[in-house]
Amino acid sequence: MASSENNGIEVRGLVKQFKKGPKAVDGIDLDVAPGEIYGFLGPNGAGKSTTVNMLVTLLPITAGRATVAGWDVATQGSHVRTAIGAALQAVALDKFLTGREHLKLIASLQGITGDRASRRAEVLLERVGLEDAADRKVGGYSGGMQRRLDLALALVHEPRVLFLDEPTTGLDPQSRTALWEEVRRLATDEGVTVFLTTQYLEEADVLADRVGIINAGTIVAEGTPAELKAEIGAPTVELVPASDADRARLPGLLAQFGTEAAPEVPGSVAVRLHRGDDRASLVSIVRAVDDAGVAVREVRQHEPTLDDVFLLKTGLTLEGAASDADVAASEPGPRSPEPAPADPTAEPVA
Protein backbone atom coordinates (compact mmCIF):
# COMPACT_ATOMS: atom_id res chain seq x y z
CA MET A 1 0.00 0.00 0.00
CA ALA A 2 1.33 3.39 -0.92
CA SER A 3 1.96 6.08 1.60
CA SER A 4 -0.81 8.62 1.68
CA GLU A 5 1.20 11.54 3.04
CA ASN A 6 0.25 14.87 1.48
CA ASN A 7 -2.87 13.43 -0.11
CA GLY A 8 -5.26 15.70 1.74
CA ILE A 9 -7.34 18.72 0.80
CA GLU A 10 -7.35 22.00 2.72
CA VAL A 11 -9.76 24.79 1.92
CA ARG A 12 -9.93 28.13 3.67
CA GLY A 13 -12.41 30.89 2.91
CA LEU A 14 -12.97 29.70 -0.64
CA VAL A 15 -15.17 32.04 -2.68
CA LYS A 16 -16.43 31.90 -6.24
CA GLN A 17 -18.41 34.76 -7.68
CA PHE A 18 -19.47 34.66 -11.30
CA LYS A 19 -19.93 37.89 -13.23
CA LYS A 20 -23.21 39.61 -12.43
CA GLY A 21 -24.21 36.73 -10.18
CA PRO A 22 -24.40 35.87 -6.52
CA LYS A 23 -21.59 34.05 -4.77
CA ALA A 24 -21.86 30.45 -5.92
CA VAL A 25 -19.42 29.48 -3.16
CA ASP A 26 -19.34 31.80 -0.20
CA GLY A 27 -16.28 31.39 1.99
CA ILE A 28 -16.18 27.70 2.74
CA ASP A 29 -13.61 25.96 4.94
CA LEU A 30 -13.00 22.25 4.85
CA ASP A 31 -10.31 19.66 5.47
CA VAL A 32 -10.17 16.21 3.96
CA ALA A 33 -7.68 13.81 5.50
CA PRO A 34 -5.50 11.58 3.34
CA GLY A 35 -7.29 8.37 2.40
CA GLU A 36 -10.62 9.74 3.56
CA ILE A 37 -13.86 9.63 1.56
CA TYR A 38 -15.46 13.04 1.96
CA GLY A 39 -19.08 13.35 0.88
CA PHE A 40 -20.14 16.81 -0.26
CA LEU A 41 -23.89 16.80 -0.03
CA GLY A 42 -26.31 19.39 -1.25
CA PRO A 43 -29.07 20.15 -3.72
CA ASN A 44 -28.52 21.25 -7.29
CA GLY A 45 -27.14 24.77 -7.44
CA ALA A 46 -25.77 24.62 -3.89
CA GLY A 47 -22.17 25.13 -5.00
CA LYS A 48 -20.88 21.55 -5.09
CA SER A 49 -19.69 21.45 -8.69
CA THR A 50 -18.31 24.98 -8.52
CA THR A 51 -16.22 23.93 -5.53
CA VAL A 52 -14.97 20.84 -7.34
CA ASN A 53 -14.13 22.82 -10.48
CA MET A 54 -12.06 25.22 -8.40
CA LEU A 55 -10.27 22.40 -6.57
CA VAL A 56 -9.37 20.63 -9.83
CA THR A 57 -8.09 23.97 -11.28
CA LEU A 58 -10.70 24.22 -14.02
CA LEU A 59 -12.18 27.36 -12.52
CA PRO A 60 -10.21 30.26 -11.04
CA ILE A 61 -11.00 31.03 -7.44
CA THR A 62 -12.33 34.48 -6.55
CA ALA A 63 -10.95 34.55 -3.01
CA GLY A 64 -9.60 32.25 -0.33
CA ARG A 65 -7.09 29.48 -0.58
CA ALA A 66 -7.11 25.78 -1.32
CA THR A 67 -4.44 23.13 -1.44
CA VAL A 68 -4.84 19.67 -2.94
CA ALA A 69 -2.22 17.01 -2.30
CA GLY A 70 -0.05 19.73 -0.83
CA TRP A 71 -0.21 21.98 -3.89
CA ASP A 72 -1.89 25.37 -4.10
CA VAL A 73 -4.69 25.25 -6.68
CA ALA A 74 -4.24 28.92 -7.56
CA THR A 75 -0.50 28.96 -8.14
CA GLN A 76 0.57 25.33 -8.60
CA GLY A 77 -2.12 24.09 -10.94
CA SER A 78 0.05 21.80 -13.03
CA HIS A 79 1.20 19.95 -9.89
CA VAL A 80 -2.37 19.67 -8.69
CA ARG A 81 -3.46 18.20 -12.02
CA THR A 82 -0.68 15.62 -11.87
CA ALA A 83 -1.83 14.46 -8.45
CA ILE A 84 -5.56 14.28 -9.06
CA GLY A 85 -8.08 12.35 -11.09
CA ALA A 86 -11.53 13.72 -11.74
CA ALA A 87 -14.82 12.45 -13.08
CA LEU A 88 -16.85 15.61 -13.48
CA GLN A 89 -20.60 16.01 -13.44
CA ALA A 90 -21.09 15.54 -17.18
CA VAL A 91 -19.20 12.61 -18.70
CA ALA A 92 -16.40 13.97 -20.88
CA LEU A 93 -15.81 11.64 -23.82
CA ASP A 94 -15.10 11.83 -27.54
CA LYS A 95 -17.91 9.96 -29.28
CA PHE A 96 -15.64 9.04 -32.19
CA LEU A 97 -13.10 7.15 -30.04
CA THR A 98 -13.47 3.67 -28.57
CA GLY A 99 -13.17 3.01 -24.85
CA ARG A 100 -9.70 1.56 -25.29
CA GLU A 101 -8.58 4.50 -27.46
CA HIS A 102 -9.75 6.89 -24.76
CA LEU A 103 -7.71 5.14 -22.11
CA LYS A 104 -4.61 4.92 -24.28
CA LEU A 105 -4.90 8.58 -25.31
CA ILE A 106 -5.18 9.82 -21.74
CA ALA A 107 -2.42 7.40 -20.63
CA SER A 108 -0.14 8.73 -23.37
CA LEU A 109 -0.84 12.34 -22.42
CA GLN A 110 0.07 11.36 -18.86
CA GLY A 111 3.37 9.98 -20.13
CA ILE A 112 2.39 6.30 -19.91
CA THR A 113 3.15 4.88 -23.32
CA GLY A 114 3.51 1.65 -25.28
CA ASP A 115 2.88 -1.65 -23.52
CA ARG A 116 2.43 0.06 -20.18
CA ALA A 117 -0.46 2.11 -21.58
CA SER A 118 -2.03 -1.01 -23.11
CA ARG A 119 -1.73 -2.94 -19.87
CA ARG A 120 -3.14 -0.06 -17.87
CA ALA A 121 -6.07 0.18 -20.27
CA GLU A 122 -6.76 -3.55 -19.91
CA VAL A 123 -6.71 -3.37 -16.12
CA LEU A 124 -9.09 -0.41 -16.02
CA LEU A 125 -11.45 -1.82 -18.66
CA GLU A 126 -11.75 -4.96 -16.59
CA ARG A 127 -12.17 -3.01 -13.38
CA VAL A 128 -15.12 -1.03 -14.74
CA GLY A 129 -16.58 -3.98 -16.62
CA LEU A 130 -16.11 -2.69 -20.14
CA GLU A 131 -13.87 -5.42 -21.61
CA ASP A 132 -16.51 -6.49 -24.10
CA ALA A 133 -17.25 -2.95 -25.24
CA ALA A 134 -13.62 -1.81 -25.25
CA ASP A 135 -13.32 -1.54 -29.02
CA ARG A 136 -16.68 0.05 -29.68
CA LYS A 137 -17.02 3.80 -30.22
CA VAL A 138 -18.36 5.41 -27.07
CA GLY A 139 -21.09 7.17 -29.04
CA GLY A 140 -22.88 3.80 -28.86
CA TYR A 141 -22.37 3.32 -25.11
CA SER A 142 -25.24 3.58 -22.66
CA GLY A 143 -25.17 6.37 -20.10
CA GLY A 144 -23.98 3.96 -17.41
CA MET A 145 -21.17 2.63 -19.60
CA GLN A 146 -20.04 6.15 -20.43
CA ARG A 147 -19.95 7.04 -16.75
CA ARG A 148 -17.91 3.95 -15.93
CA LEU A 149 -15.43 4.79 -18.69
CA ASP A 150 -15.27 8.35 -17.38
CA LEU A 151 -14.28 6.98 -13.98
CA ALA A 152 -11.66 4.73 -15.57
CA LEU A 153 -10.16 7.75 -17.35
CA ALA A 154 -9.86 9.52 -14.02
CA LEU A 155 -7.85 6.58 -12.70
CA VAL A 156 -5.44 6.09 -15.61
CA HIS A 157 -2.44 7.69 -13.92
CA GLU A 158 -3.19 6.31 -10.45
CA PRO A 159 -4.09 9.65 -8.87
CA ARG A 160 -3.56 10.34 -5.20
CA VAL A 161 -6.72 12.43 -4.86
CA LEU A 162 -9.91 11.59 -6.71
CA PHE A 163 -12.75 14.04 -7.35
CA LEU A 164 -16.08 12.50 -8.25
CA ASP A 165 -18.84 14.97 -9.07
CA GLU A 166 -22.19 13.19 -8.73
CA PRO A 167 -20.66 9.98 -10.09
CA THR A 168 -23.73 7.78 -9.74
CA THR A 169 -26.27 10.04 -11.39
CA GLY A 170 -27.90 8.05 -14.16
CA LEU A 171 -26.48 4.72 -13.02
CA ASP A 172 -28.65 1.68 -12.41
CA PRO A 173 -28.60 0.31 -8.84
CA GLN A 174 -26.17 -2.48 -9.73
CA SER A 175 -23.66 -0.11 -11.35
CA ARG A 176 -24.08 2.30 -8.46
CA THR A 177 -23.22 -0.39 -5.93
CA ALA A 178 -20.23 -1.49 -8.04
CA LEU A 179 -18.96 2.08 -8.18
CA TRP A 180 -19.33 2.47 -4.42
CA GLU A 181 -17.28 -0.70 -3.91
CA GLU A 182 -14.59 0.58 -6.26
CA VAL A 183 -14.43 3.94 -4.49
CA ARG A 184 -14.12 2.17 -1.13
CA ARG A 185 -11.38 -0.09 -2.52
CA LEU A 186 -9.43 2.89 -3.83
CA ALA A 187 -9.56 4.62 -0.47
CA THR A 188 -8.88 1.54 1.63
CA ASP A 189 -6.36 -0.38 -0.49
CA GLU A 190 -4.60 2.41 -2.36
CA GLY A 191 -4.88 5.27 0.11
CA VAL A 192 -6.61 7.51 -2.42
CA THR A 193 -8.37 10.53 -0.96
CA VAL A 194 -11.86 10.82 -2.41
CA PHE A 195 -13.88 14.03 -2.66
CA LEU A 196 -17.37 12.98 -3.69
CA THR A 197 -20.27 15.29 -4.40
CA THR A 198 -23.76 13.91 -4.34
CA GLN A 199 -27.35 14.91 -3.90
CA TYR A 200 -28.24 11.39 -2.78
CA LEU A 201 -28.53 11.03 0.97
CA GLU A 202 -28.03 7.29 0.83
CA GLU A 203 -24.79 7.67 -1.11
CA ALA A 204 -23.29 10.07 1.40
CA ASP A 205 -24.56 7.99 4.30
CA VAL A 206 -23.24 4.67 3.02
CA LEU A 207 -20.00 5.75 1.40
CA ALA A 208 -18.56 8.80 3.09
CA ASP A 209 -16.33 8.78 6.14
CA ARG A 210 -17.30 12.40 6.70
CA VAL A 211 -19.96 14.58 5.16
CA GLY A 212 -20.14 18.29 4.48
CA ILE A 213 -23.57 19.67 3.74
CA ILE A 214 -23.59 22.72 1.50
CA ASN A 215 -26.51 25.01 0.79
CA ALA A 216 -26.46 28.29 -1.09
CA GLY A 217 -22.66 28.27 -1.23
CA THR A 218 -22.15 27.78 2.50
CA ILE A 219 -21.31 24.67 4.49
CA VAL A 220 -24.11 24.31 7.00
CA ALA A 221 -22.98 21.10 8.72
CA GLU A 222 -19.98 18.81 8.74
CA GLY A 223 -19.05 15.58 10.47
CA THR A 224 -19.41 11.84 10.19
CA PRO A 225 -22.87 10.70 9.17
CA ALA A 226 -23.32 9.28 12.69
CA GLU A 227 -22.26 12.55 14.34
CA LEU A 228 -24.57 14.59 12.17
CA LYS A 229 -27.52 12.34 12.83
CA ALA A 230 -26.73 12.33 16.52
CA GLU A 231 -27.36 16.07 16.49
CA ILE A 232 -30.96 15.23 15.68
CA GLY A 233 -30.99 12.48 18.28
CA ALA A 234 -34.55 11.30 18.46
CA PRO A 235 -36.49 9.63 15.68
CA THR A 236 -39.55 10.99 13.94
CA VAL A 237 -42.92 9.27 14.23
CA GLU A 238 -45.42 9.74 11.43
CA LEU A 239 -49.09 8.79 11.58
CA VAL A 240 -51.42 8.44 8.61
CA PRO A 241 -54.92 9.32 9.88
CA ALA A 242 -57.96 7.35 8.77
CA SER A 243 -60.07 10.47 8.14
CA ASP A 244 -59.92 14.27 8.04
CA ALA A 245 -61.54 14.39 11.47
CA ASP A 246 -58.81 12.17 12.89
CA ARG A 247 -56.19 14.31 11.15
CA ALA A 248 -57.51 17.43 12.83
CA ARG A 249 -57.07 15.90 16.29
CA LEU A 250 -53.59 14.50 15.82
CA PRO A 251 -51.39 17.65 16.12
CA GLY A 252 -52.78 18.53 19.54
CA LEU A 253 -52.48 14.97 20.72
CA LEU A 254 -48.89 14.60 19.55
CA ALA A 255 -47.61 17.97 20.81
CA GLN A 256 -46.72 16.46 24.21
CA PHE A 257 -44.30 14.00 22.58
CA GLY A 258 -42.23 16.28 20.43
CA THR A 259 -42.14 19.02 17.80
CA GLU A 260 -43.98 18.92 14.54
CA ALA A 261 -41.93 17.67 11.60
CA ALA A 262 -42.39 17.50 7.85
CA PRO A 263 -44.31 14.31 6.98
CA GLU A 264 -43.30 12.08 4.09
CA VAL A 265 -46.81 10.87 3.29
CA PRO A 266 -49.16 13.64 2.14
CA GLY A 267 -51.97 14.16 4.64
CA SER A 268 -50.12 12.52 7.49
CA VAL A 269 -48.84 14.12 10.68
CA ALA A 270 -45.25 13.75 11.90
CA VAL A 271 -43.59 14.60 15.17
CA ARG A 272 -39.90 14.59 16.06
CA LEU A 273 -39.71 13.07 19.52
CA HIS A 274 -38.25 15.04 22.42
CA ARG A 275 -34.72 13.91 23.18
CA GLY A 276 -34.17 12.31 26.57
CA ASP A 277 -37.86 12.18 27.38
CA ASP A 278 -38.84 8.63 28.36
CA ARG A 279 -42.50 9.36 27.69
CA ALA A 280 -41.70 10.31 24.09
CA SER A 281 -41.72 6.95 22.34
CA LEU A 282 -43.54 5.11 19.63
CA VAL A 283 -45.32 2.94 22.18
CA SER A 284 -46.52 5.95 24.16
CA ILE A 285 -47.84 7.59 21.04
CA VAL A 286 -49.72 4.50 19.91
CA ARG A 287 -51.26 4.18 23.37
CA ALA A 288 -52.24 7.84 23.47
CA VAL A 289 -53.79 7.72 20.03
CA ASP A 290 -55.68 4.58 20.91
CA ASP A 291 -56.90 6.00 24.23
CA ALA A 292 -58.12 9.14 22.46
CA GLY A 293 -60.04 7.07 19.94
CA VAL A 294 -58.22 8.53 16.97
CA ALA A 295 -58.12 6.10 14.04
CA VAL A 296 -54.87 5.83 12.08
CA ARG A 297 -54.16 3.70 9.03
CA GLU A 298 -50.42 3.51 9.42
CA VAL A 299 -47.68 4.47 11.84
CA ARG A 300 -44.07 4.92 10.69
CA GLN A 301 -40.93 5.59 12.63
CA HIS A 302 -37.97 7.22 10.89
CA GLU A 303 -34.51 7.15 12.33
CA PRO A 304 -32.75 10.50 11.89
CA THR A 305 -31.40 10.97 8.37
CA LEU A 306 -29.04 13.43 6.76
CA ASP A 307 -32.14 15.04 5.30
CA ASP A 308 -33.26 15.71 8.89
CA VAL A 309 -29.86 17.31 9.50
CA PHE A 310 -30.33 19.42 6.39
CA LEU A 311 -33.81 20.39 7.57
CA LEU A 312 -32.48 21.28 11.00
CA LYS A 313 -29.69 23.44 9.60
CA THR A 314 -31.52 25.15 6.76
CA GLY A 315 -35.21 24.79 7.44
CA LEU A 316 -35.50 23.01 4.07
CA THR A 317 -35.58 19.42 2.95
CA LEU A 318 -32.94 18.42 0.41
CA GLU A 319 -35.65 17.58 -2.09
CA GLY A 320 -37.35 20.94 -1.60
CA ALA A 321 -34.08 22.82 -1.74
CA ALA A 322 -33.24 21.02 -4.97
CA SER A 323 -36.47 22.19 -6.51
CA ASP A 324 -35.84 25.77 -5.45
CA ALA A 325 -32.27 25.61 -6.68
CA ASP A 326 -33.34 24.31 -10.05
CA VAL A 327 -35.20 27.52 -10.60
CA ALA A 328 -32.37 29.80 -9.60
CA ALA A 329 -29.30 27.63 -9.98
CA SER A 330 -26.17 29.71 -10.29
CA GLU A 331 -23.79 26.86 -11.02
CA PRO A 332 -22.77 26.43 -14.64
CA GLY A 333 -24.48 23.54 -16.36
CA PRO A 334 -26.58 22.00 -13.61
CA ARG A 335 -28.27 18.81 -14.62
CA SER A 336 -31.85 17.95 -13.92
CA PRO A 337 -32.15 16.19 -10.62
CA GLU A 338 -33.08 12.58 -10.72
CA PRO A 339 -35.36 10.98 -8.11
CA ALA A 340 -33.33 10.22 -5.03
CA PRO A 341 -33.24 6.65 -3.85
CA ALA A 342 -35.91 5.78 -1.30
CA ASP A 343 -34.98 6.57 2.28
CA PRO A 344 -33.61 3.28 3.56
CA THR A 345 -34.36 4.17 7.18
CA ALA A 346 -38.11 4.51 6.67
CA GLU A 347 -39.57 1.78 8.76
CA PRO A 348 -43.28 1.04 8.57
CA VAL A 349 -44.28 -0.39 11.92
CA ALA A 350 -48.03 -0.59 11.75
Partner: protein, 280 residues
Protein backbone atom coordinates in the same frame (compact mmCIF):
# COMPACT_ATOMS: atom_id res chain seq x y z
CA UNK B 1 -15.40 35.41 5.73
CA UNK B 2 -12.57 33.21 6.80
CA UNK B 3 -9.18 34.24 5.67
CA UNK B 4 -6.32 32.00 4.81
CA UNK B 5 -4.46 30.55 7.74
CA UNK B 6 -2.71 27.65 6.07
CA UNK B 7 0.99 27.59 5.57
CA UNK B 8 2.55 27.65 2.14
CA UNK B 9 1.98 24.32 0.47
CA UNK B 10 5.05 22.19 0.40
CA UNK B 11 5.62 20.02 -2.63
CA UNK B 12 4.87 16.38 -1.90
CA UNK B 13 8.07 14.48 -1.66
CA UNK B 14 6.70 11.12 -0.64
CA UNK B 15 3.70 9.02 -1.30
CA UNK B 16 3.66 9.52 -5.03
CA UNK B 17 1.54 6.67 -6.31
CA UNK B 18 1.71 7.85 -9.91
CA UNK B 19 5.40 8.18 -10.74
CA UNK B 20 4.65 7.96 -14.47
CA UNK B 21 2.26 10.90 -14.47
CA UNK B 22 4.80 13.35 -15.71
CA UNK B 23 3.24 14.01 -19.07
CA UNK B 24 4.75 13.73 -22.49
CA UNK B 25 6.57 16.15 -24.78
CA UNK B 26 4.73 18.89 -26.64
CA UNK B 27 5.51 17.24 -29.98
CA UNK B 28 4.07 13.95 -28.76
CA UNK B 29 1.00 15.72 -27.42
CA UNK B 30 0.40 17.42 -30.76
CA UNK B 31 0.99 14.12 -32.60
CA UNK B 32 -1.43 12.19 -30.41
CA UNK B 33 -4.14 14.80 -30.62
CA UNK B 34 -3.67 15.45 -34.35
CA UNK B 35 -4.07 11.73 -35.06
CA UNK B 36 -7.24 11.78 -33.00
CA UNK B 37 -8.46 14.84 -34.91
CA UNK B 38 -7.89 13.21 -38.30
CA UNK B 39 -9.40 9.91 -37.19
CA UNK B 40 -12.45 11.70 -35.79
CA UNK B 41 -12.90 13.58 -39.06
CA UNK B 42 -12.36 10.49 -41.20
CA UNK B 43 -14.68 8.36 -39.09
CA UNK B 44 -17.63 10.29 -40.45
CA UNK B 45 -17.86 10.82 -44.24
CA UNK B 46 -20.03 13.83 -43.51
CA UNK B 47 -16.96 15.33 -41.86
CA UNK B 48 -14.67 15.25 -44.88
CA UNK B 49 -16.62 14.49 -48.04
CA UNK B 50 -18.14 17.96 -48.43
CA UNK B 51 -14.65 19.46 -48.30
CA UNK B 52 -13.53 17.28 -51.22
CA UNK B 53 -16.67 16.83 -53.30
CA UNK B 54 -18.31 20.26 -53.04
CA UNK B 55 -15.38 22.11 -54.67
CA UNK B 56 -15.45 19.59 -57.54
CA UNK B 57 -19.18 20.11 -58.05
CA UNK B 58 -18.66 23.87 -58.04
CA UNK B 59 -15.76 23.52 -60.47
CA UNK B 60 -17.87 21.41 -62.83
CA UNK B 61 -20.75 23.89 -62.77
CA UNK B 62 -18.52 26.93 -63.25
CA UNK B 63 -16.40 25.35 -65.98
CA UNK B 64 -19.42 24.39 -68.05
CA UNK B 65 -21.43 27.52 -67.33
CA UNK B 66 -18.70 30.10 -67.75
CA UNK B 67 -16.62 28.50 -70.51
CA UNK B 68 -17.68 31.27 -72.89
CA UNK B 69 -15.67 33.70 -70.74
CA UNK B 70 -12.51 32.49 -72.49
CA UNK B 71 -13.71 34.35 -75.60
CA UNK B 72 -13.56 37.70 -73.79
CA UNK B 73 -10.54 39.61 -75.07
CA UNK B 74 -7.78 39.58 -72.48
CA UNK B 75 -9.00 36.45 -70.67
CA UNK B 76 -5.79 34.90 -69.33
CA UNK B 77 -6.41 31.21 -70.17
CA UNK B 78 -7.42 29.17 -73.19
CA UNK B 79 -9.63 26.85 -71.16
CA UNK B 80 -11.89 28.05 -68.34
CA UNK B 81 -10.97 24.88 -66.40
CA UNK B 82 -7.32 26.01 -66.29
CA UNK B 83 -8.48 29.34 -64.88
CA UNK B 84 -11.04 27.93 -62.45
CA UNK B 85 -9.31 24.83 -61.06
CA UNK B 86 -7.92 27.00 -58.27
CA UNK B 87 -11.47 27.26 -56.87
CA UNK B 88 -11.12 23.71 -55.57
CA UNK B 89 -7.97 24.51 -53.59
CA UNK B 90 -9.47 27.68 -52.21
CA UNK B 91 -12.76 26.12 -51.24
CA UNK B 92 -11.02 23.17 -49.62
CA UNK B 93 -8.98 25.64 -47.59
CA UNK B 94 -12.21 27.34 -46.52
CA UNK B 95 -13.48 24.00 -45.23
CA UNK B 96 -10.48 23.93 -42.89
CA UNK B 97 -12.24 26.72 -40.99
CA UNK B 98 -15.01 24.36 -40.00
CA UNK B 99 -12.80 21.25 -39.72
CA UNK B 100 -10.57 22.86 -37.10
CA UNK B 101 -13.34 24.83 -35.43
CA UNK B 102 -15.91 22.07 -35.17
CA UNK B 103 -13.38 19.68 -33.66
CA UNK B 104 -12.65 22.20 -30.92
CA UNK B 105 -16.30 23.07 -30.39
CA UNK B 106 -17.12 19.37 -30.07
CA UNK B 107 -14.47 19.04 -27.35
CA UNK B 108 -15.76 22.13 -25.57
CA UNK B 109 -19.41 21.13 -25.75
CA UNK B 110 -18.78 17.52 -24.71
CA UNK B 111 -16.53 18.50 -21.82
CA UNK B 112 -13.64 16.54 -23.34
CA UNK B 113 -11.60 19.75 -23.31
CA UNK B 114 -11.87 19.69 -19.51
CA UNK B 115 -10.84 16.03 -19.51
CA UNK B 116 -7.76 16.93 -21.57
CA UNK B 117 -7.10 20.02 -19.47
CA UNK B 118 -6.79 17.77 -16.42
CA UNK B 119 -3.82 15.98 -17.99
CA UNK B 120 -0.34 17.51 -18.27
CA UNK B 121 -1.28 18.48 -21.85
CA UNK B 122 -0.23 21.99 -22.87
CA UNK B 123 -3.28 23.98 -23.84
CA UNK B 124 -1.81 25.02 -27.17
CA UNK B 125 -1.22 21.38 -28.17
CA UNK B 126 -4.92 20.75 -28.67
CA UNK B 127 -5.35 23.80 -30.91
CA UNK B 128 -2.24 23.00 -32.93
CA UNK B 129 -3.47 19.40 -33.24
CA UNK B 130 -6.92 20.41 -34.46
CA UNK B 131 -5.39 22.79 -36.98
CA UNK B 132 -2.95 20.06 -38.08
CA UNK B 133 -5.84 17.66 -38.50
CA UNK B 134 -7.70 20.18 -40.65
CA UNK B 135 -4.60 20.77 -42.76
CA UNK B 136 -4.13 17.01 -43.21
CA UNK B 137 -7.65 16.74 -44.62
CA UNK B 138 -7.04 19.77 -46.85
CA UNK B 139 -3.80 18.11 -48.02
CA UNK B 140 -5.68 14.97 -48.96
CA UNK B 141 -8.20 17.05 -50.89
CA UNK B 142 -5.45 19.04 -52.62
CA UNK B 143 -3.75 15.85 -53.77
CA UNK B 144 -7.05 14.76 -55.28
CA UNK B 145 -7.33 18.10 -57.12
CA UNK B 146 -3.73 17.89 -58.37
CA UNK B 147 -4.50 14.42 -59.73
CA UNK B 148 -7.52 15.86 -61.49
CA UNK B 149 -5.31 18.61 -62.94
CA UNK B 150 -3.08 15.95 -64.45
CA UNK B 151 -6.01 13.88 -65.68
CA UNK B 152 -7.67 16.89 -67.33
CA UNK B 153 -4.29 18.04 -68.69
CA UNK B 154 -4.37 21.48 -67.14
CA UNK B 155 -1.64 23.60 -68.72
CA UNK B 156 0.63 24.12 -65.69
CA UNK B 157 3.03 26.97 -66.47
CA UNK B 158 5.47 26.59 -63.59
CA UNK B 159 6.22 22.88 -63.93
CA UNK B 160 6.76 20.35 -61.14
CA UNK B 161 8.21 22.96 -58.76
CA UNK B 162 5.08 25.03 -59.30
CA UNK B 163 2.93 22.05 -58.32
CA UNK B 164 4.80 21.92 -55.04
CA UNK B 165 4.46 25.69 -54.63
CA UNK B 166 0.71 25.40 -55.28
CA UNK B 167 0.49 22.67 -52.69
CA UNK B 168 2.42 24.85 -50.23
CA UNK B 169 0.24 27.91 -50.83
CA UNK B 170 -2.87 25.77 -50.57
CA UNK B 171 -1.73 24.37 -47.20
CA UNK B 172 -0.81 27.83 -45.94
CA UNK B 173 -4.27 29.06 -46.95
CA UNK B 174 -5.85 26.10 -45.15
CA UNK B 175 -3.74 26.91 -42.10
CA UNK B 176 -4.77 30.56 -42.05
CA UNK B 177 -8.47 29.69 -42.32
CA UNK B 178 -8.10 26.90 -39.77
CA UNK B 179 -6.71 29.41 -37.26
CA UNK B 180 -9.74 31.63 -37.87
CA UNK B 181 -12.04 28.62 -37.30
CA UNK B 182 -10.18 27.68 -34.13
CA UNK B 183 -10.36 31.28 -32.91
CA UNK B 184 -14.11 31.45 -33.41
CA UNK B 185 -14.52 28.05 -31.75
CA UNK B 186 -12.46 29.00 -28.71
CA UNK B 187 -14.13 32.37 -28.38
CA UNK B 188 -17.72 31.21 -28.75
CA UNK B 189 -17.59 27.53 -27.78
CA UNK B 190 -20.66 27.04 -29.95
CA UNK B 191 -21.07 25.22 -33.24
CA UNK B 192 -23.75 27.75 -34.24
CA UNK B 193 -21.13 30.49 -34.41
CA UNK B 194 -19.04 28.45 -36.83
CA UNK B 195 -22.02 27.53 -38.94
CA UNK B 196 -22.91 31.20 -39.01
CA UNK B 197 -19.50 32.24 -40.31
CA UNK B 198 -19.48 29.74 -43.16
CA UNK B 199 -21.93 31.55 -45.48
CA UNK B 200 -19.90 34.69 -44.91
CA UNK B 201 -16.74 32.90 -46.01
CA UNK B 202 -18.49 31.63 -49.12
CA UNK B 203 -19.70 35.13 -49.93
CA UNK B 204 -16.10 36.28 -49.55
CA UNK B 205 -15.04 33.59 -52.01
CA UNK B 206 -17.56 34.65 -54.63
CA UNK B 207 -16.85 38.35 -54.14
CA UNK B 208 -13.24 37.76 -55.13
CA UNK B 209 -11.43 37.13 -58.40
CA UNK B 210 -12.34 33.45 -58.22
CA UNK B 211 -14.57 33.46 -61.31
CA UNK B 212 -13.19 36.36 -63.36
CA UNK B 213 -9.92 38.34 -63.53
CA UNK B 214 -10.28 41.72 -61.84
CA UNK B 215 -9.61 43.68 -65.05
CA UNK B 216 -12.50 41.99 -66.82
CA UNK B 217 -15.09 42.61 -64.09
CA UNK B 218 -17.51 45.22 -65.44
CA UNK B 219 -19.24 46.37 -62.23
CA UNK B 220 -17.18 48.99 -60.42
CA UNK B 221 -18.44 47.99 -56.98
CA UNK B 222 -17.53 44.34 -57.60
CA UNK B 223 -14.09 45.31 -58.82
CA UNK B 224 -13.60 47.49 -55.74
CA UNK B 225 -14.57 44.65 -53.44
CA UNK B 226 -12.15 42.25 -55.10
CA UNK B 227 -9.42 44.79 -54.45
CA UNK B 228 -10.00 44.78 -50.67
CA UNK B 229 -10.97 41.14 -50.41
CA UNK B 230 -7.96 39.16 -49.13
CA UNK B 231 -9.25 36.00 -50.80
CA UNK B 232 -8.59 37.61 -54.20
CA UNK B 233 -4.87 37.82 -53.45
CA UNK B 234 -4.73 34.21 -52.26
CA UNK B 235 -6.59 33.03 -55.37
CA UNK B 236 -4.47 35.15 -57.71
CA UNK B 237 -1.24 33.82 -56.21
CA UNK B 238 -2.29 30.18 -56.57
CA UNK B 239 -3.73 30.78 -60.03
CA UNK B 240 -0.62 32.54 -61.28
CA UNK B 241 1.36 29.33 -60.75
CA UNK B 242 -1.02 27.52 -63.09
CA UNK B 243 -1.75 29.95 -65.88
CA UNK B 244 0.94 32.67 -65.74
CA UNK B 245 4.24 31.26 -64.58
CA UNK B 246 6.46 32.56 -61.77
CA UNK B 247 5.08 36.04 -61.03
CA UNK B 248 7.00 37.45 -58.07
CA UNK B 249 4.68 40.38 -57.41
CA UNK B 250 1.48 38.33 -57.33
CA UNK B 251 3.10 35.62 -55.22
CA UNK B 252 4.42 38.19 -52.75
CA UNK B 253 1.03 39.86 -52.47
CA UNK B 254 -0.58 36.47 -51.82
CA UNK B 255 2.07 35.54 -49.27
CA UNK B 256 1.67 38.90 -47.54
CA UNK B 257 -2.08 38.49 -47.21
CA UNK B 258 -1.68 34.91 -46.00
CA UNK B 259 0.87 36.03 -43.44
CA UNK B 260 -1.47 38.75 -42.18
CA UNK B 261 -4.48 36.42 -41.91
CA UNK B 262 -2.35 33.74 -40.24
CA UNK B 263 -0.97 36.20 -37.69
CA UNK B 264 -4.45 37.51 -36.92
CA UNK B 265 -5.76 33.95 -36.57
CA UNK B 266 -2.89 32.77 -34.37
CA UNK B 267 -3.10 35.87 -32.16
CA UNK B 268 -6.87 35.44 -31.83
CA UNK B 269 -6.44 31.76 -31.00
CA UNK B 270 -3.81 32.47 -28.37
CA UNK B 271 -5.93 35.16 -26.73
CA UNK B 272 -9.12 33.10 -26.73
CA UNK B 273 -7.28 29.99 -25.57
CA UNK B 274 -5.87 31.88 -22.60
CA UNK B 275 -9.33 33.07 -21.66
CA UNK B 276 -10.96 29.67 -22.09
CA UNK B 277 -8.27 27.78 -20.23
CA UNK B 278 -8.24 30.29 -17.42
CA UNK B 279 -6.91 27.77 -14.99
CA UNK B 280 -4.02 27.97 -12.61
Amino acid sequence: MTTSTTSTAAPPTTGIINPHATGTSLANQVGLLARRSVRSSLSSPAGYMPGIVMPLILLTINSSGLSAATRIPGFPADRYLDFAIVITFMQSALFATSSAGLGLVRDIESGFLDRLALTPMRAGALVVAQISGAIAIALGASLVYISIMFITQVDFHTGPLGVLALLGLSMWTAFSFATIGAWIALRSGESEALQGIFPLLFATLFLSTTNMPRDLIQADWFRAITRVNPVSYMVDAMRSLIITGWDGRVLLEGAGVLLAVSLIGVAGCARSLRRRMAKA
